[in-house]
């Protein structure tokens, strides 16, 4: 029983620890929380496009037309304002999460 408990804890820690892991096809990307947002782990220095574009555009309003159909505002902001590409990954349990991918290889949840 104890072993099972440890195993469950380990699985949980791996899936939902401070760093988040999302899988995109063959690629696994590890995200770390920086100033309340998730960016890929090497972006912790805040020098990547993901962090800088977020700081620049996160509060900027989006035209209503772009959000029709209840689109994810973060996805629309990524494409329309930040110049990124949206890709959808899954976490360990199969829950979906879109992220914004930038030309310098950085990612923003």
């Amino acid at each position: 029983m104890m072993t099972r408990f440890i195993l469950i804890c380990m699985i949980s820690l791996n899936a939902f620890g401070a760093d988040q892991v999302l899988t995109f096809g063959e690629l696994k990307v590890i995200f770390a929380k920086v100033d309340g947002i998730y960016v890929n782990r090497s972006c912790k220095s805040k020098k990547c496009e993901a962090y800088q574009k977020f700081m620049q555009f996160s509060k900027k309003s989006l035209p209503r037309d772009l959000l029709l159909g209840g689109k994810n505002p973060a996805a629309v902001r990524c494409k329309e304002l930040m110049g990124g590409e949206v890709i959808i990954g899954k976490d360990h349990d199969g829950h979906e999460q879109s992220v914004c991918q930038f030309s310098d290889g950085s990612y923003l949840i």
Binding site: S12, F24, K28, I30, L67, G70, I88, E96, Q97, S98
Partner: protein
């Protein structure tokens, strides 16, 4: 003094008051700080996976899929892509009769989005039933190439946008055509990659390959490359795996060399693990899941194998004092879990996933080809796929012929591509017995009502707030208590500004980002500090599903968290704020149920 104590006690009693309500006939009491959610174990949404609609304007379809899951016996996962395609092609076809055939009000202005729940249900019924999401290429997210996924979503998003404008704007029509072609290109590219991959891998026992991939991947994810020994270990992995694999601080892409894979498999066979594994595979998975001894044994085998590969003779100078000397330890329990998941649960394996993926199989069958075909037959496959490339031409043709509903035929072809398993009616889930009803807070009689399922608000106006609140309450409590989720169409101003008041979306809110209609799912209710709150399931992914950024405050919203304290795509919202922002609420009832 005693008065003060008595007063404080009274205050405290008030704070801890239960939530009580009545419509004159039914009386409900919810204990303070208690909650009811369909995500609780054993309830209808307990296995629901959070969706992210990305840039697709499909919120009504995402909600429809969640509500359908909660209502259909057995709670199957239902495709939202199917719901969206049916809604955008069949759902409105009755009105595609002349030049005005848009989503329109009677005054000719465009109908805003958000509240298409019952029309979507009607469209799904018309199609013959709901499509299980296992048939959806996009929703399975099992595509080998993430760029293909990206292209599909991007172009499909443009497709859904274009659906509404296709007759108004020739440039948009051209864009639709071009994006349809790109969607097809993307699918074809993926198919060819699958075939190439299967061709290369078919000699191997792929579950083992995937298990190894998972095992190493898990090991690497847990490394902290700023720690010398961990960095050394990562470098060793990189050395073993070769240049095609990527191992950096934040990205892991593993390409297992065939030699390593074969050796691994041979090792397992020689260790007599494989027969034992087979024995377990024949048993019920739940039984196997509970066998920790088996997991440990597997973990030890894999760990021993990896450690033998990573073993470095002599002392490693980069390791700090006290760390393992000359040998990199791999945790057997950690690896055992991964290995176990990789094999017994058969997750994510390239070819086996595709073998089980009816969507891909159907797509391949429809093209008269077979998976993992010899290279010599590749031409045959491409020839078989070629007709699909003519959809763009068909679109042109439809324009020439001035078809009343040009989308109906393309929608059908898109379905073949994206949901091939659901081209056959026997794969659809019958929903004939489901009865849909949308209850509007304001007069909706000016809207076209295709399905006669909208119960409009007062003529020429809206309900008073108290009546609207009573409607929402009773619908929510009645349905949630019967294990059924509901759809709710809201204007989104409250997500940015909790004090925004829109009078059931009748009043524009200035200065609020993206104040528009959005459909979500009501999945629970609770009583908090004597006030009712509702749980909303969004379709914007795990993190963005709760629309409040870290550091921002929104007194109306509390992000729902999973057991580990992470966001789970849902949020709680105060009743008064939600009701004020509600355009309509929809329920789906199984007429066959007692």
């Amino acid at each position: 003094m005693s008065y003060i104590v008595f007063f404080l006690l009274l205050m405290n009693m008030d704070l801890l008051a239960d939530c009580k309500m009545s419509n004159g006939k039914t009386h409900i009491s919810i204990a303070d700080n208690s909650e009811v959610s369909l995500f609780e174990s054993g309830k209808s949404l307990s296995t629901h996976k959070t969706q992210d609609q990305d840039g697709l304007g499909t919120c009504y379809a995402n909600t429809t899929s969640a509500v359908l899951k909660s209502v259909i016996p057995g709670s199957p996962d239902v495709s939202y892509i199917h719901a969206a395609l049916e809604s955008s092609t069949n759902g409105w076809s009755q009105n595609w009769s002349d030049g005005k055939n848009q989503y329109v009000k009677n005054d000719g202005s465009e109908l805003t989005y958000g509240g298409f729940f019952c029309d979507t249900i009607a469209a799904i019924k018309k199609a013959g039933g709901a499509c299980p999401s296992k048939h959806s290429i996009l929703e399975n997210k099992e595509l080998i190439n993430s760029n293909v996924q990206l292209e599909l979503m991007k172009n499909l998003g443009t497709y859904f946008d274009s659906v509404n404008k296709v007759k108004k704007d020739p440039a948009k029509l051209q864009k639709l055509k071009s994006n349809l072609a790109k969607v097809i290109d993307s699918v074809n590219l993926e198919k060819s990659k699958v075939i190439q991959s299967c061709e290369a891998e078919k000699r191997k026992d792929l579950p083992l390959k995937k298990a190894l991939d998972d095992a190493i991947g898990l090991e690497l994810i847990n490394l902290d490359l700023s720690v010398p020994c961990d960095k050394f270990k990562a470098e060793k992995f990189q050395q073993i795996l070769g240049a095609k694999s990527i191992i950096t601080e934040d990205q892991i892409k593993l390409v297992i060399p065939p030699t390593l894979e074969s050796e691994f498999e041979l090792f397992l066979v020689n260790s007599k693990i494989k027969p034992e594994l087979s024995a377990f595979l024949k048993k019920d998975q739940k039984e196997a899941l509970n066998n920790s001894a088996f997991q440990q044994k597997l973990g030890s085998v894999v760990a021993d194998f990896l450690n033998s590969k990573l073993k470095t003779p002599g002392k490693n100078a980069s390791c700090p004092p006290g760390s393992p000397n000359g040998k990199i330890e791999v945790d057997p329990v950690d690896l055992g879990t991964s290995f176990y998941n990789g094999i017994l649960l058969q997750k994510s394996d390239v070819c086996s996933a595709y073998s089980e993926n009816a969507a891909i199989i159907e797509a391949v069958k429809n093209s008269n080809i077979h998976q993992c075909i010899p290279e010599t037959q590749l031409d045959e496959m491409l020839n078989a796929l070629a007709p699909m490339m003519k959809i763009g031409e068909a679109l042109d043709q439809s324009l020439v012929n001035k078809m009343t509903n040009p989308l109906s035929q393309y929608g059908g072809q898109l379905k073949d591509l994206l949901l091939p398993g659901c081209s056959k009616k026997e794969n659809l889930i019958d929903i004939k017995n489901l009865s849909c009803g949308s209850f509007s807070m304001c007069d909706q009689s000016q809207y076209i009502d295709l399905s006669n399922t909208t119960y409009t608000g007062p003529k020429g106006g809206c309900y008073d707030f108290g009546s609207a609140r009573a409607i929402v309450r009773m619908k929510v409590f009645n349905n949630i208590s019967s294990n059924r989720a509901l759809g709710i169409s809201v204007c989104t101003a409250f997500m940015d500004n909790p004090s925004a008041r829109t009078n059931f979306c009748q009043t524009p809110v200035k200065g609020v980002d993206g104040h528009s209609l959005h459909e979500m799912t009501i999945s629970g209710y609770r009583c908090k500090d004597g006030k009712i709150e509702y749980q909303l399931l969004n379709s914007w992914g795990k993190y963005q599903g709760c629309p409040v950024s870290d550091g921002d405050k929104n007194s109306a919203i509390e992000c729902s968290l999973d057991k580990s304290g992470n966001r789970d795509g849902k949020f709680w919202v105060k009743e008064d704020v939600l009701v004020d922002s509600t355009n309509e609420i929809s329920q789906l009832v199984n007429k066959a149920s007692p």
